[in-house]
């Protein structure tokens, strides 16, 4: 399976502030009653968006100025909680192609990389600075460059980091592990044969 080498993601940005934004908030459990991931996009951050509406406010994801944004910025421990792949799937199907945060929960991070959606880490000051630039010019183009490990907006570069293995997986087009795993099937069987509890 040849996958696209992901070295760069370019698009407009949207800032959803907050720490510990958990998977129940990214996609409330009641929208997980489904047997495919299709159509999950519209439920991304559903409750937060409807709360904002009820309060007469506009959630960033509904803000006309940020429509079509594909790079999401947020705070620390993003995606904590459930292992539900519905969370990154909902964001991806909403149109998000990369996430920049102060830190990521582990399972969410892995699930996102498997979708080919880079999750990179930036400092809280830099995230705020980028957010301020987006706010002043929502049409400004953000470019996440994985090769250079930086994100640029309006001629300013900000450094980002990403775990080496995830970086390698993305830029080499091996972000979905299934092909590699399938290549090792003979070794899998001999390993399994060595473990008594694996016997049929």
């Amino acid at each position: 399976m040849a996958l696209e080498k992901i070295t760069q993601v370019a698009g407009r940005g949207v800032y959803v502030p907050g720490e510990d934004l958990d998977t129940d908030r990214i996609i409330p459990a009641r929208f997980m009653k489904c047997i495919t991931f299709d159509g999950l996009g519209e439920f991304a951050f559903y409750d937060a968006r409807s709360f904002a509406k009820a309060d007469g406010q506009v959630h960033p994801l509904d803000d006309a100025r940020f429509q079509g944004a594909s790079i999401l910025l947020s705070g620390s421990n993003f995606g904590c909680g459930s292992s539900r792949e519905h969370a990154p799937q909902a964001l991806y199907r909403f149109g998000i192609r990369a996430i920049v945060a102060e830190s990521f929960a582990e399972i969410f991070f892995g699930n996102s990389i498997t979708l080919g959606m880079p999750c990179v880490i930036a400092s809280s000051e830099d995230i705020r600075a980028i957010a301020a630039l987006i706010e002043s010019d929502p049409a400004a183009l953000l470019t996440l460059d994985l090769t250079e490990k930086k994100i640029s907006i309006a001629d300013t570069d900000f450094p980002v980091t990403i775990a080496d293995h995830a970086h390698e997986a993305l830029v080499s087009g091996k972000w979905d592990a299934i092909a590699d795993l399938l290549e090792g099937l003979d070794a899998v069987k001999s390993r399994a044969n060595a473990l008594p509890y694996m016997a049929a």
């Binding site: 997980m32 539900r84 293995h165 590699d180 399938l182 390993r191």
Partner: protein, 469 residues
């Protein structure tokens, strides 16, 4: 030697190193349920792949099952489609399914241990973050996403990076009325909700040595709430005793051989850890959450904190939590009015949880106006509890006695909070909207504290309510 259990299990299950440096790790036991598996089976079909080890794959249905009216078709069409999809996927692939009519259905993390499928020295994966529960047996157990469910179905392996190990030691005896749930809430409060990022937690020390197998499960269950994807306890006689005679446990001569192997998987006395933290059991009191993540926890006699008291990086979340919970800083948490009491979940829905509560609840009544429900973690737990007369004690007290499932832990079935109801809950997550209502409020606590809240209609110290000494 000098190896941890994690080192040994990792070594025994390593298939090879992948080109990107990750380990292709053999997953001995794969548990699946209706929410995170249908898409994975779909992906498998799209790729033209088969389930490689159907006999090492086990299924149950837990998240969406109604706990009252269990006649099919379910009134919720989507829930009905999900159980049917699982049934069909299992039948087509020859996978054992602990379906509703088997009498063995229940929450996946309760069924695995109960059936003796969860064993020391093994690797386990499930498309559910609380898979860490199985670590209580000295297994290395991971919560995984749906694409990884596909990987494990097709190859019985996944690509993983070896975590570091932090030994979390708790020593001494817990005071009466203080439970395993309080221990893990305390640990998360101290280490933070993302303190475990990149780590496996090895829970150890004399408190854990003295714990029953079910108490160990309660702690390992919530490892992920502290950011640690994996949590485990070294296997010992308590573990072996629990497993002996269970349907999928080894029998006869195989049993002795298995026990010998299991013993050898425990961490060596001189094992090297990446980090060690130590707590005293005597310092832990009944703990309740006040906020919207499990780390926002205080002892029952403490006051709701001011946002200004928490570290700066947690301040915004603290403010958000106070406003969501309608709690006032400086007020005692004790005395907060409760609308719903929920006893159940993979954290605290096991027989010993129900026994401990029933022992104290006998002869008491749920306060008028409080909706109180008990949801046994499995049909197995339910039937033993019924035969022991526990169900009757709960019913007489005014609790609704329900069928097994996840229920109000996440409100994917009809059991949901309404509006901004406040729920005293024995579950593991107090995230906004977790219990089915976007404005619903969750306060996590031990099962006996839930019973105390049900009886008094407010958050209470169970030791006072039930005279626990």
């Amino acid at each position: 030697m000098s190896k941890t259990l994690l080192d040994k299990v990792w070594e025994a299950h390593t298939v090879r190193t992948l080109p990107n440096g990750a380990t292709q790790l053999l997953i001995g036991t794969h548990l699946i349920h209706e929410v995170t598996s249908p898409q994975a089976f779909g992906m498998l079909r799209d790729l033209g792949l088969k389930v490689l080890y159907p006999h090492r794959t086990f299924a149950t249905v837990d998240h969406i099952v109604p706990t009252d009216e269990r006649v099919e078709p379910f009134s919720d069409d989507l829930a009905d489609a999900m159980i049917k999809a699982l049934r069909q996927n299992c039948a087509e692939n020859g996978i054992t399914f602990f379906d509703l009519p088997t009498g063995k259905q229940g929450i996946v993390h309760i069924v695995g241990p109960e059936q003796g499928i969860t064993q020391p020295g093994t690797t386990i994966a499930c498309g559910d973050s609380h898979t860490s529960t199985h670590g209580a047996f000295g297994a290395i157990a991971f919560g995984i996403g749906t694409s990884q469910v596909r990987d494990v179905l097709a190859t019985q392996t996944m690509a993983l990076h070896k975590p570091k190990v932090r030994r979390v030691e708790v020593n001494g005896k817990l005071a009466p009325g203080v439970y395993a749930k309080d221990v893990i809430l305390h640990i998360i409060r101290k280490l933070g909700v993302n303190g475990g990022l990149g780590y496996a937690y090895e829970f150890a020390g004399s408190t854990f040595d003295a714990f029953t197998q079910e108490e160990r499960m309660t702690v390992c269950n919530m490892s992920i709430e502290g950011g640690a994807r994996v949590g485990y306890v070294n296997p010992d006689n308590t573990t072996f005793e629990y497993l002996k005679g269970r349907p999928f446990a080894p029998k006869g001569a195989d049993w002795d051989a298995a026990v010998a192997r299991w013993k050898a998987t425990a961490s060596d006395a001189d094992a090297k850890y990446d980090d060690v933290v130590t707590y005293n059991a005597a310092d832990i009191a009944p703990t309740v959450t006040w906020g919207i993540n499990p780390g926002q926890a205080i002892f029952i006699h403490e006051k709701v904190p001011f946002a200004s008291e928490v570290p700066e990086k947690d301040r915004a979340t603290a403010e958000e939590a106070l406003s969501h919970m309608h709690l006032k800083s400086g007020d005692p948490i004790k005395g907060t009015k409760v609308d719903v009491a929920f006893l159940g979940s993979c954290t605290n829905g096991r027989l010993s949880d129900l026994q401990e509560v029933a022992r104290h609840l006998k002869g008491r009544k749920v306060r008028e106006g409080v909706k109180a429900i008990v949801v046994p973690g499995s049909q197995g737990v339910a039937s033993v509890a019924e035969s022991m007369g526990l169900a009757e004690i709960f019913r007489n007290a005014g609790f609704e006695w329900r069928g097994a499932g996840c229920s109000m832990c996440l409100g994917m079935n009809p059991d949901k909070l309404v509006g901004d109801q406040l729920c005293a809950s024995s579950s593991n997550r107090n995230f906004k909207g977790r219990q089915g209502s976007p404005t619903g409020r969750t306060v996590l606590m031990s099962p006996l504290m839930v019973a105390a809240a049900a009886v008094t209609g407010e958050i209470s110290d169970a030791r006072e309510v039930f005279g626990v000494k």
